[in-house]
C-alpha cells in the first residue's frame, strides 16, 4: 500500500466514530433482522432435506451479506459528500493518484464492514450457531462478503455518487441491495422456492454463488470449488465495475 493510500485510509478510519449514528445504523438493523427472521422462519429447518438443525447457521451468511452489500454504500455517501463540499477537488490538486483516493476510502470501509459483519457472526455463535470451517473459515467468509459488497453495491453507488454528486441519491438506492440478496436462497433452500421463474432468477443472480460458498464455509467446511467460484464471480464483477468507476472518477476533472 502506498503511503498516500494509507494516509487516506487513516483519514476515513479516524472519522468513523465521529459519525456514530451512521456506524450504528449500518449494522443494528441487520442484527435485529437476523434475530427476528431467525425466529420467524425457524420452522423451515424441519422441512425434509434442510441442511442444518439450527436456522441461524443457515441464515448467518445471508446476514453477513446484508451487512456488507448495503453497508458499503456509506462509502459512496462519503464520496458524494466530498464532491459536494469540493473536498475531492482539493484532494485532486495534491500529488495523489485517483487510485489512492479510491483505495483509501474502500480499504477503510472494507475494514469497517469486516468488523460489522464479524459482529453478525458473533451474534450467530451466541444464538447457538457453529462455523464448520472454524476461525479461518469465518475470516474467509467475512473477506468474501466485504469484497462482494465492494464490487457490487460499492461500484454501483460510487458511480451514482460520481454522476449525481448527491448523497441523498445514493441513499435512495439502498433498498436495491436487499432485492439483490432476497433473490437468492438466503432464507430457504432452492427446493423450497415454489416458482420455476424465481428459481431461474436465483440461478442467474451472482449473489447466489457467493452465498453458496459462504454457506459451505458455515455448514460443511472448506469447499474450494465453491470458494473458487465465489472469487471468480467477484473478479468478474471487479473487471467490469472498477474500470468504469475509475473512468467516472476522472470525469470529476472538467
Amino acid at each position: 500500500m502506498s503511503s498516500a493510500t494509507w494516509l487516506l485510509t487513516r483519514r476515513t478510519l479516524i472519522q468513523f466514530p465521529r459519525n456514530p449514528m451512521v456506524l450504528g445504523f449500518s449494522v443494528a438493523p441487520v442484527l435485529m433482522m437476523f434475530v427476528v427472521f431467525g425466529a420467524l422462519f425457524e420452522a423451515v429447518k424441519q422441512l425434509p432435506g434442510f441442511p442444518t438443525d439450527n436456522y441461524f447457521e443457515y441464515l448467518a451468511p445471508a446476514a453477513v451479506l446484508m451487512t456488507t452489500v448495503p453497508g458499503i454504500a456509506n462509502s459512496a455517501v462519503g464520496l458524494a459528500t466530498d464532491i459536494q463540499s469540493r473536498y475531492l477537488h482539493k484532494l485532486l490538486t495534491l500529488p495523489v493518484s485517483i487510485g489512492s483516493i479510491m483505495a483509501g476510502r474502500l480499504l477503510a470501509d472494507g475494514a469497517r464492514l469486516f468488523l460489522q459483519a464479524g459482529a453478525v457472526l458473533l451474534l450467530a455463535i451466541v444464538l447457538g450457531a457453529q462455523i464448520a470451517s472454524g476461525f479461518a473459515g469465518a475470516l474467509l467468509m467475512l473477506l468474501i462478503g466485504a469484497l462482494f459488497g465492494i464490487v457490487t453495491f460499492g461500484v454501483l453507488t460510487a458511480n451514482l455518487a460520481l454522476k449525481t454528486k448527491d448523497p441523498q441519491a445514493v441513499q435512495a438506492i439502498f433498498p436495491m441491495a436487499f432485492l439483490l440478496i432476497f433473490l437468492t436462497t438466503a432464507y430457504q433452500t432452492e427446493e423450497q422456492v415454489p416458482s420455476g421463474v424465481l428459481r431461474a432468477v436465483i440461478s442467474a443472480n451472482p449473489t447466489e454463488y457467493v452465498l453458496q460458498a459462504m454457506r459451505d464455509l458455515m455448514l460443511t467446511g472448506f469447499d474450494w470449488g465453491s470458494i473458487g467460484l465465489a472469487f471468480a464471480v467477484i473478479a468478474g464483477l471487479a473487471l467490469i465495475g472498477l474500470p468504469l468507476t475509475i473512468r467516472n472518477y476522472r470525469s470529476v476533472y472538467s
Binding site: S85, R86, S97, Y253, S254
Partner: protein, 272 residues
C-alpha cells in the same frame, strides 16, 4: 505559539525548490471550451516570473476561475499550452501538483476533520515527514489566524475560518507556486489584512510565486506586481498597476478600479 510563523517557516527543511529565476508560469494561447459550448477561455497568453505576484481581475464569468482550474490541473484545456514550474499542465499534471498550492474559490474542506488534521494530512500527502508536517501545520495555522480552533472540527467553523484553513493547507508544503482564487472573499477587514500580510511575506521572504484572482481592486493594487484584466475569456489589458493607471491619466489620480471599469465596461456591483 510562535511569535513569527514566517520566520520559523524560513527555517523549514525539505522545502520544494523555489526557482530563483525564469518564468514560473507560461500560458500560450490557452483555450477552454466546455462540452455545452461555453468558451470560458479564448486564446489567453501571459507569463509570470518566478517570485512574482500576478493578479487576474475580471467580472464573474470572465474566465478567471477556469484559468486557475487549468493551471491547478483541475480543468483540462481544449487548446493552447500552459506550463507551471516547468511542467505542462495537460501532459504532466501529477508533477505540477507537486509544485503548487491551490486555495480554491469554493472552499473544499473536510467537515468531519479538525483544522489541524486537514492541514497535517495535506502536508503528509506532499511527502513531509510526520513531525515536520505537524510543526509546519501549527505554523501555517498560526499564520492565517487559526489558533486553538485548529483542534475543533471544521463543521463548527465559520465560512471565513474554513477559507483560512483552506489557505493554510495550500501553504503548508511551501510550494514554489501558489494559486489563490479570491483568497479574502468573505473575510472581515482584519482577516483580510492578515492574509495580505501573510501573502506579502511568503512572497518576499520565501520567493513564492503567487497568482491570485480577486474582485477587490485595493487588494490587487496592494499585492500584485502585475495584473491582467480578463473579460469574456480574453485578456483585455495587462501590466503593472501603475502602468495601467497611467493609461487613464496621472497614476495618483486614477485607481485600479477606474482601469477595471473602463476596460471591462462593467460596474463592480455587476462583477460582484
Amino acid at each position: 505559539m510562535p511569535a513569527d510563523p514566517v520566520q520559523l517557516l524560513l527555517g523549514s527543511t525539505a522545502r520544494n525548490g523555489v526557482r530563483a529565476d525564469g518564468d514560473a508560469i507560461v500560458v500560450d494561447r490557452l483555450e477552454k471550451r466546455y462540452p455545452n459550448g461555453t468558451e470560458a477561455v479564448r486564446g489567453i497568453s501571459f507569463r509570470v516570473g518566478a517570485g512574482e505576484v500576478f493578479g487576474l481581475l475580471g467580472p464573474n464569468g470572465a474566465g478567471k476561475s477556469t484559468m486557475m482550474g487549468i493551471l491547478g490541473t483541475l480543468v483540462r484545456p481544449t487548446g493552447g499550452r500552459a506550463t507551471v514550474a516547468g511542467y505542462d499542465v495537460a501532459k504532466a499534471p501529477q508533477l505540477v501538483r507537486g509544485q503548487i498550492g491551490f486555495a480554491m474559490q469554493e472552499v473544499g474542506v473536510d467537515a468531519l476533520a479538525t483544522g489541524r488534521e486537514l492541514v497535517v494530512l495535506h502536508a503528509r500527502l506532499h511527502g513531509l515527514p510526520r513531525r515536520e508536517a505537524a510543526r509546519r501545520a501549527a505554523l501555517v495555522l498560526a499564520l492565517v489566524g487559526i489558533g486553538d480552533a485548529a483542534r475543533r472540527r471544521m463543521s463548527e467553523y465559520s465560512g471565513g475560518m474554513r477559507r483560512r484553513v483552506d489557505l493554510a493547507s495550500a501553504l503548508v508544503h511551501l510550494p514554489p507556486v501558489l494559486f489563490l482564487d479570491e483568497p479574502t472573499e468573505g473575510l472581515d477587514p482584519h482577516g483580510r489584512a492578515a492574509i495580505w500580510d501573510a501573502i506579502e511575506r511568503l512572497n518576499q521572504e520565501l520567493g513564492m510565486t503567487v497568482v491570485l484572482t480577486t474582485h477587490y481592486m485595493e487588494e490587487a493594487d496592494r499585492l500584485c506586481e502585475r495584473v491582467a484584466i480578463v473579460d469574456r475569456g480574453r485578456i483585455v489589458t495587462e501590466g503593472t498597476p501603475a502602468e495601467l493607471k497611467r493609461t487613464l491619466g496621472a497614476p495618483h489620480a486614477v485607481t485600479l478600479e477606474d482601469v477595471y471599469l473602463r476596460t471591462t465596461g462593467r460596474t463592480l456591483e455587476v462583477a460582484a
